[in-house]
């Protein structure tokens, strides 16, 4: 395998793995947060506004870890910095 193929294969495989592994943690965390918030609303329906607002802010923070993984996967596929390097060095 030459260098360009190696970069392409590893980028594609690793970006898939990034999304697959990186979405496990946020999914579990968000599920737990939503379950807790729903039971809290069921116990105290008067505080639903505060709970919902805190839930959304917290969800966004949890989700940002998944978003980091997504951004890295997108960079690996569409804007790979090693791609141009491999192409210029493969031509020589």
């Amino acid at each position: 395998m030459d260098m360009v193929t190696l970069v392409a294969v590893s980028s594609i495989v690793v970006s898939g793995l990034t999304l697959a592994i990186g979405s496990i943690g946020p999914a579990l965390g968000e599920a737990r947060a939503v379950a807790q918030a729903i039971s809290a609303i069921a116990q105290q329906p008067d505080e639903a506004n505060t709970i919902t607002r805190t839930l959304f802010v917290g969800l966004a923070m949890i989700e940002s870890t998944a978003i980091y993984c997504f951004v890295i996967a997108m960079i690996l596929i569409f804007a790979n910095p090693f791609w141009n390097y491999a192409i210029t060095h493969a031509g020589k």
């Binding site: 607002r53 959304f56 802010v57 917290g58 966004a60 940002s64 978003i67 980091y68 997504f70 951004v71």
Partner: protein
């Protein structure tokens, strides 16, 4: 497929390339300025007010109430900055319903610029409300050892603020673009609606986090024990 509207260049203004991000940012600014100028031109304090003035008053008072609830402080100092951030991000996210409009918040340079505004605003508001010494003492708050971690936290939350908004908006655009190639008929519309919801929530979260950061830096002493903020 383009990952960022930065790479679409429409024309050159002298030596400066005007890309899609700049152009759509100007459009959003124009929409905001023009609509508020048109509404406040015929503003009145008498009882029969125009529907648009009513709409603006509802918007401003809703932002004011949210700031007051989150920060436990007077909203008067914060509403120009936070309200501008919220309205700009919200407008640029919602305007993406129009075909051909790529939201400027889907470009990393815009979100980094907005996050740097928050990064600079935190010490400005903090120093203005507490003074230099009290603000700087917050960095060595538990012990002196925590100083580098406090500084790292300050920088990393700014980066997180930028990447969060950029990732959410860019993912909406990319998902619709991918689905247009796979199932072009009906399903992209559903994802677009989901993207709109995400855009509104992200605008809300961006401004809420900005006010949380600013409020935690500028909290005065007697309110210190009333609310412990996240991060």
């Amino acid at each position: 497929m383009t990952i960022s509207p930065d790479s679409v260049i429409y024309f050159y203004l002298g030596p400066f390339p005007v890309n899609a991000t700049l152009l759509f940012t100007w459009i959003v600014m124009g929409v905001l300025v023009l609509s508020s100028w048109l509404v406040t031109r015929t503003i009145s304090s008498d009882l029969p007010i125009s529907p648009w003035q009513n709409f603006l008053e509802i918007t401003v008072s809703a932002i004011q109430r949210q700031i007051k609830e989150v920060s436990n402080q007077e909203a008067r100092h914060y509403i120009p900055f936070i309200g501008t951030l919220f309205l700009f991000v919200l407008t640029s996210n919602v305007l993406s319903v129009f075909p051909g409009f790529s939201p400027p918040t889907g470009s990393f340079s815009t979100t980094v610029a907005l996050a740097i505004c928050v990064f600079i605003a935190v010490p400005i508001f903090g120093v203005a409300s507490k003074g230099w010494s009290a603000y700087l003492q917050a960095y060595i708050k538990p012990t002196f050892i925590m100083l580098p971690f406090n500084i790292i936290g300050e920088i990393s939350r700014t980066l997180a603020l930028a990447v969060r908004l950029y990732g959410n908006m860019m993912s909406g655009t990319v998902i619709v673009a991918i689905l247009l190639g796979v199932v072009p008929l009906f399903f992209p519309v559903v994802m677009h609606v989901l993207g709109l919801l995400t855009g509104v929530i992200q605008a809300y979260i961006f401004s809420i986090l900005a006010i949380v950061y600013i409020a935690s830096a500028s909290k005065s002493a007697q309110r210190n024990n009333r609310q412990s903020t996240t991060e």
